[in-house]
């Protein structure tokens, strides 16, 4: 009876198999005396990349709509498009990290494998249609992340980051689990569809609560999720982890988990628990998010910390989209998500490319306009969407978010959003100032970047700059996703 189900999960099965074969290959050959104990990280990487690409092809080819495994997993338009995002982000992470391993002489093929494994669990997380399925998909993903955050064992920062991430990742998992328990205990179901039936017209208002257990459960779930997407007031671990862990790990952290967790949040909170009460929670969270992201990023002088805060701020714009639960809002969230992924790939690739001589402080970028002009232009163009400069993709995404917020009457949200995006331009100008106008005493000459990074940079830069010329496809796709989620 599972025939159909296994067919629908073909790409997950493929990816898991591919992931399992590569460590076998890695382990066998890197410990072989005959080949003089070769460092196999690049080989494993080049094996992992095509398997991700094939997965993308499989995602694109198999447009199936089904409920699987007794309604524990679901495949619809929403999941189908959503899976492409994490695969793309992995497909961009793997080629950038190969050069990194070579340079740092870090022989860790397990890194690639862990990334692939976490992608598998992300897939399941996006497919999850049950609280238990959600939780059991989040955990393997987080486990992989704890390990790769601490992957650079000889660096104190990396181990510290790994430890921090572990503690502050296990904690929200506990909270999430507690929330799930409460919901289960007071309703008796964990399936999203059944939950949705229960919660239709339920009204969980504070004083009219029919069940205080449910009233407790939902915030616990929300807090657990918000921890994971580094929401403000639950964000304290993020800058440290981002700074401490190796740069490519940072790049991966700021893209992939956010996609999958937001996808799951949408599923849970738009479909199952649709109610204005928790929407207030995201409303205030979003405001705090934006304000902190803009203000804290201003005070940073280390590149990776700045990226961490700007990522916090940027993700903070996303809950605008679903703090009111309109289709337009969800659509704008998805658009913003896509553009955020593009931009973050671009920025992190740039930072990776500038890694030689340990780019640590923003001041190290001084005179970049003279030493590496193209990179300087790229960085200033890519940083600008963070600030919402016009006519670039970042502006379009933010504008559509504000548009959606105004459309559902969240005036204060739109106002705060615009004010913070204006103030965040301040640190964008600081970047440009440092690169173009400062002349530091020691000029840091960076190594030219390899071809994979160049290609990635070119693609992402082109798509961010020329996005506004033809935004229709993305709008259509996201609209379809939002529709299939809500209806």
């Amino acid at each position: 009876m599972f025939d159909h189900d296994f067919l629908a999960l073909f790409l997950e099965i493929f990816l898991i198999n591919a992931t399992i074969t590569s460590p076998i290959y890695g382990v066998v050959f890197s410990t072989s005396k005959r080949y003089d104990y070769p460092p196999l990280v690049c080989n494993v990487g080049w094996l992992g990349l095509p398997s991700v690409l094939i997965t993308i092809l499989l995602v694109a080819a198999g447009a199936l709509v089904a409920n699987l495994f007794y309604n524990n997993l679901i495949i619809d338009n929403f999941t189908y498009f959503r899976q492409i995002f994490p695969s793309l982000s992995t497909a961009s992470t793997i080629p950038t990290c190969l050069d990194y391993f070579k340079e740092e002489s870090l022989n860790a093929p397990e890194f690639i494998i862990l990334i692939l494994l976490s992608i598998c669990s992300m897939f399941f997380m996006i497919l999850a249609y049950d609280l238990i399925a959600t939780y059991s998909a989040i955990e393997p993903q987080s486990l992989c992340f704890y390990v790769i955050a601490a992957s650079k064992r000889d660096s104190e920062f990396s181990t510290e980051a790994g430890l921090k991430y572990f503690i502050l990742g296990a904690f929200p998992s506990g909270i999430l689990l507690f929330g799930c328990f409460m919901i289960y205990g007071f309703t008796g179901v964990t399936n999203f569809e059944e939950l949705a039936k229960i919660f239709t017209g339920y009204e969980i208002t504070l004083f009219g609560a029919q069940s205080s257990g449910i009233f407790m459960g939902i915030p616990f779930i929300a807090v657990g999720f918000l921890f994971k997407i580094t929401a403000v007031s639950f964000h304290m671990w993020a800058p440290d982890v981002y700074e401490g862990s190796p740069t490519l790990v940072t790049a991966f952290f700021s893209i992939a988990p956010k996609i999958s967790i937001l996808a799951n949040m949408l599923r849970v909170f738009i479909y199952s628990f649709y109610d204005p009460t928790w929407q207030q929670l995201f409303f205030f969270c979003s405001i705090a998010f934006m304000i902190l992201g803009a203000l804290a990023a201003m005070a940073q002088n280390k590149v990776k910390r700045l990226l961490a805060y700007s990522s916090i701020g940027h993700v903070g714009y996303l809950p605008i989209g679903f703090s009111r639960g309109t289709i337009e809002g969800i659509q704008s969230l998805l658009i913003a998500m896509f553009i955020y992924v593009l931009m973050t790939i671009n920025v992190s690739v740039t930072v990776l490319a500038l890694r030689k001589n340990r780019l640590k402080y923003i001041a190290d970028l001084g005179a970049l306009a003279k030493t590496n002009r193209i990179l300087a232009i790229t960085l200033s163009i890519t940083m600008s969407p963070y600030a919402g400069i016009l006519l670039l993709a970042g502006f379009c995404s933010k504008f559509y978010l504000f548009f959606a917020a105004l459309g559902c009457g969240a005036y204060s949200l739109a106002f705060v959003g615009i004010v913070t995006s204006v103030t965040s331009r301040f640190y964008y100008i600081r970047f440009v100032k440092i690169m173009y106008f400062d002349t530091p005493e020691t000029w840091i000459i960076y190594k030219p970047m390899d071809r994979e990074k160049l290609l990635l940079l070119a693609i992402t830069l082109f798509s961010t700059t020329s996005f506004f010329l033809y935004p229709s496809p993305l709008f259509l796709v996201t609209h379809e996703m939002a529709l299939s989620l809500c209806l």
Partner: protein, 487 residues
């Protein structure tokens, strides 16, 4: 879905695309071949300029509609379309833009030492944006393009001025964006042609009008927020970008004419007294403050502030004379007010100082310069027969009809301006020569004289026969006045 406009000979988007094409070609040429860059860049400008009079010739004066209309479908589900067209109000000004920008390039060229290619490309993109701005009938896009122009201005040397102008323009941007979004949600579109037929409640109109005012006041600039302009002028590297600042403020008045007066006619009446008071303050205050400046460029900047406020008085007299009078300085400004910066640029290139006290007695060494700058000084004082005379005269007539109390101090401002210009000319040209400071003497070279002659011809032509420019805007302006029931 997407109709790419063909590059036919009479096509507004062709005009814009041609410039963009030029900039892309320049992008592909290596830096070292400066001769090639130098020949391609100006040629692109020249072609654009040669095309633009066709629009003027083909223009139908008898209608207030947009002409040469093209539209490109943009994101679905939101009625924001790239709708390009031109109306009588801005026709001649747009033609003038294509005339002025090549001149600016050629003026500034020799003093730009590095980044010549970027300089050229920036100008190409900027011109295409400026042309695009003047042709947008959708005011979201108008605003977006407008902001993009101001951002492409962001390349000055001293960062202080850039920060300032950035923050100032952005503060206006915030309100504008909110206003636009709320309008679009009320009516479902941001197309001006449709919006003119809609009505909104008075309270709402007042709020929107304030938001629009906040945005345009920065651009015009009105008194409390005019500080940005002198700073930007002083820090601008050459005569080239000084002038762009001039055009930007013109676009500001144009925008406020088309978008705020036309859109909220009833509420505009409430604001007349407020805006006129601000303008009168500026008119009296800025000439007085120019006298205590010691920097040549700053002086001109302050004078330009006074001039723009004169224009707003004309505009808010809300009758045909006043509005036509306020548009024609936009044209004559381009020639008259922007000629002194050229002169200052010429002085600066020779002597590397802009401080007034180092200059004096130039009449004995630079006689051609003195003659030409005398002409422009007189033209700036709106001497009868120069292009600025008719415009100011019309403004005063219009203001008198509306409110003679406003017209009187405005006329006083003219006297102050004249006094100041004569004083400046006296300081620089006559008096004792100061050989201690000025070591090299060279009169204007052939290129500079040629450019000045172009300006002189333009000034006299406009001064004697402004009818050519006025007749194409008459229908539009009278339509505007009728629409607002101002008479």
């Amino acid at each position: 879905m997407l109709q790419f406009p063909a590059l036919s000979h009479l096509n507004l988007s062709g005009l814009i695309l041609r410039l963009l094409l030029g900039s892309i070609i320049l992008l592909l040429i290596p830096d070292s071949r400066i001769q090639l860059i130098r020949s391609i860049g100006p040629r692109t400008f020249l072609i654009t300029f040669l095309y633009s009079p066709f629009f003027w010739i083909e223009f139908d004066n008898s209608t207030a509609k947009f002409q040469f209309v093209e539209s490109i479908r943009w994101p679905p589900y939101s009625n924001i379309n790239l709708y390009i067209g031109i109306d009588g109000i801005f026709l001649s000004s747009a033609v003038l833009t294509t005339f002025l920008i090549p001149i600016r390039i050629s003026v500034g060229w020799s003093s730009i030492k590095s980044y010549k290619k970027e300089y050229m490309i920036a100008f190409l993109i900027r011109e295409s944006l400026m042309i695009a701005v003047s042709r947008m009938s959708d005011f979201l896009l108008f605003h977006v393009f407008f902001e993009s122009v101001s951002i492409s201005m962001f390349r000055q040397r001293k960062i202080q001025a850039a920060y300032q102008s950035f923050l100032y323009t952005l503060s206006g941007f915030v309100f504008m964006l909110l206003a636009i979004s709320s309008i679009s949600f009320q009516t479902g579109t941001t197309d001006l042609r449709i919006l003119l037929t809609t009505e909104s409640s008075e309270w709402r109109q007042v709020l929107l009008r304030i938001a629009f005012f906040a945005s345009f006041a920065v651009k015009v600039p009105m008194v409390p927020v005019h500080i940005r302009l002198p700073e930007a002028y002083v820090e601008a590297p050459t005569a080239g970008s000084v002038i762009s600042a001039g055009i930007l403020s013109k676009l500001g008045t144009y925008g406020s004419l088309r978008f705020s007066i036309l859109m909220f006619p009833e509420v505009t009446f409430f604001f007349i007294s407020f805006i006129c008071t601000l303008s009168v303050i500026a008119i009296i205050y800025t000439p007085l403050t120019t006298v205590r400046q010691i920097d040549l460029k700053k002086m001109i900047a302050y004078f330009s502030v006074a001039h723009m406020n004169f224009v707003t008085i004309g505009m808010f007299s809300l009758n045909i004379q006043g509005i036509e009078g306020s548009i024609s300085p936009m044209l004559s400004h381009g020639l008259v007010l922007l000629a002194p910066p050229l002169c200052v640029g010429a002085l600066y290139d020779r002597h590397k100082t802009r401080l007034v006290k180092y200059y004096g007695g130039l009449v004995s060494t630079m006689s051609i310069f003195c003659t030409i700058s005398l002409f422009f000084t007189l033209a700036n004082m709106s001497l009868l027969g120069s292009s600025s005379f008719i415009g100011e005269f019309l403004i005063l007539i219009g203001a008198f009809e509306r409110n003679s109390l406003v017209a009187t101090p405005a006329a006083l401002g003219m006297i102050l301006g004249a006094a100041y210009f004569l004083w400046l000319y006296n300081c620089v040209v006559f008096g004792n020569f100061k050989p201690n400071f000025l070591k090299k003497f060279s009169d204007l070279n052939r290129r500079e004289v040629f450019i000045s002659l172009l300006f002189i011809v333009g000034v006299i032509w406009m001064g004697v026969y402004l009818e050519v420019f006025l007749e194409c805007m008459y229908t539009c302006v009278s339509n505007l006045v009728q629409h607002g029931k101002f008479d």
